[in-house]
Amino acid sequence: MYSILALIFKYIFIIVIYLFIFSIIRLIYLDIKSMDAISFEDRAYLKLINRKDSLPFKIDEHYIIDGDIKLGRQNNNDIVIKDQYVSKEHFQIVEDEKEYYLEDLESVNGTYLNGDKLYDIVKLKDGDIIRIGKIEFLFVNRE
């Protein structure tokens, strides 16, 4: 009886060990994938505050805000984040005469600006912290 079990388990053990290794490699891969450096001088961008390897989905360290951008889970957004706390269309940032405005798109879990839940369109200033779910972005706009 035990010998049959031992035979079956040896295959299961190997499969689980390899799944474990690949799950770690996958997370590390997501971590390294976007280590490319771009120059951000005199451009507005969002900077990820979280350690990237603590988030189990694809996310970049920086997102340059070029005109109006939309963030959400659906693929037609400018910033796509496949997190369960992110709505299909979560928020958008609108540019108007070199000023940037943040607007929540009636997301389920809401958008937080510097800790307060967002209800209106708010003008962003340098150093603002935007939070959705566990993800935190720093808004940088140095002119």
Partner: protein, 413 residues
């Protein structure tokens, strides 16, 4: 189908838990004939501790959260095989690991609070020599090397701690080169100190540890030494003393010959290595299954030769998996070193990753007859109290190194 969905989430923490629970189920089937409840409670306790530690560490540490996860996987594989080889040793190992995890958190919180630890060069120096003196004064000879100190029936290897002290010593020297510049030839002195350690280890006939010391020193020196010709001297001196050691000392010669052709010495010096090769070959790709092989044919299989026992019963695929786990671990270590701004902690991270990388390389290479065999433990897998405890101390320091030191200094002020 629900089960499959759980796996697809591929959270490594859950996979680890799954692995441990499966192992426990197998143990349950194995122990049916002589059920001992104690071991189940202990094993379940350990699984709980490991799961909680992995969970807590993400909360309390802003640093890397893979290294501890990888280590707990290695430990799980190790303890399964050790328990299978010898039940008493398995239970002992269980207590060592629990103690090790406790020590991990203790060292983590203590060392993090200490300031100016990069200034204590002389303390590290004295501590290292003190550990050598203890070994020589109270040491016993075990498996051909004097590296065990017994104290009231409790044996430990001071050499395991000396490795960490050496890394601190080197980090403390190379992070303050400005300070030591006024002493002429200070780099030569530090090299002399390390060589004196290596000579002492040679006298203890602890060749494996001597090699680990040398490689840690050589790699840190290679990265940080400004006087580049010193590196050439170091390599030359090493080759010279290696050849000299081969000619002068019999135990070096025996190891070397047993490596070149163990088959003609199969009765004596080559016995261990040939049995190990038989065991690995016997296992094949998927192994014989736990409890179905004969790992006890290999002498002292639970420490140095644990890898051949794993290969025999769990297959060479598990063996390759272990090598991969060590590779990811060392990779994480170097990544930590690269992203660390503080020079002292950066050198510590390099030293510790080199320590684990090279130690596992030397013993795995030795067991597989790739390089001459030297007695070393496979970190986190082999049986042994001092090995487990010192590995956890080193891991805890690596965890501290993975945190952002500059932001910590800001919040302190």
């Amino acid at each position: 189908m629900m089960f499959k969905g759980e796996i697809r989430k591929q959270s490594p923490k859950n996979l680890l838990l799954l692995f441990q629970i499966l192992a426990l189920l197998l143990l349950l089937a194995y122990e049916q004939m002589h059920a001992d409840k104690m071991i189940f409670i202990m094993a379940m306790g350990l699984i709980l501790i490991i799961y909680l530690s992995n969970y807590l560490l993400i909360k309390i540490s802003s640093g890397d959260n893979y290294i501890f996860l990888i280590v707990t996987m290695l430990i799980t594989i190790g303890i399964i095989v050790i328990y299978r080889i010898d039940e008493k040793l398995g239970i002992k190992q269980l207590t060592w690991i629990s103690l090790g995890i406790f020590l991990f958190f203790l060292v983590y919180f203590m060392v993090k609070r200490l300031k100016k630890i990069d200034d204590w060069l002389y303390l590290y120096l004295v501590l290292a020599y003190l550990l050598f003196i203890i070994t020589f004064a109270f040491g016993d000879r075990k498996f051909g090397a004097i590296n065990w100190v017994s104290f009231r029936g409790f044996a430990f290897q001071p050499g395991e701690i000396t490795k960490i002290v050496l890394i601190f010593l080197l980090a403390s020297y190379y992070s303050n080169t400005e300070k030591w510049r006024h002493i002429k030839y200070s780099s030569y002195y530090i090299m002399g100190v390390v060589y004196s350690f290596i000579a002492l280890l040679f006298l203890q006939k602890d060749l494996g540890t001597a090699l680990v010391f040398y490689i840690i020193f050589a790699s840190i020196q290679f990265i940080y030494e400004e006087d580049r010709k010193l590196i050439l001297y170091n390599i030359g001196l090493f080759l010279g003393s290696g050849v000299l050691g081969y000619v002068l000392f019999d135990h070096v010669k025996i190891r070397f010959q047993a490596w070149l052709n163990p088959w003609i010495y199969i009765e004596r010096q080559g016995y261990q290595i040939t049995q190990s090769l038989f065991a690995i070959a016997e296992g094949g790709f998927f192994g014989k299954g736990l409890g179905m092989g004969h790992p006890d044919f290999v002498p002292v299989v639970y420490t140095d030769f644990i890898f051949s026992a794993i290969c025999e019963e769990m297959g060479i695929f598990t063996g390759i998996g272990i090598v991969m786990l060590f590779m990811i671990f060392v990779y994480r270590g170097f990544k930590i070193a690269i992203s660390q701004e503080n020079r002292f902690y950066r050198i510590l991270a390099i030293g510790i990753s080199t320590l684990f990388g090279i130690q596992s390389f030397i013993i795995l290479g030795g067991v597989l007859k790739m390089i001459p065999l030297t007695g070393l433990t496979l970190p986190f897998i082999s049986y042994g109290g001092s090995s487990i405890l010192s590995s956890f101390i080193a891991l805890s320091i690596l965890q501290i190194c993975s945190e952002d030191m500059t932001s910590r200094e800001d919040t302190d002020e």
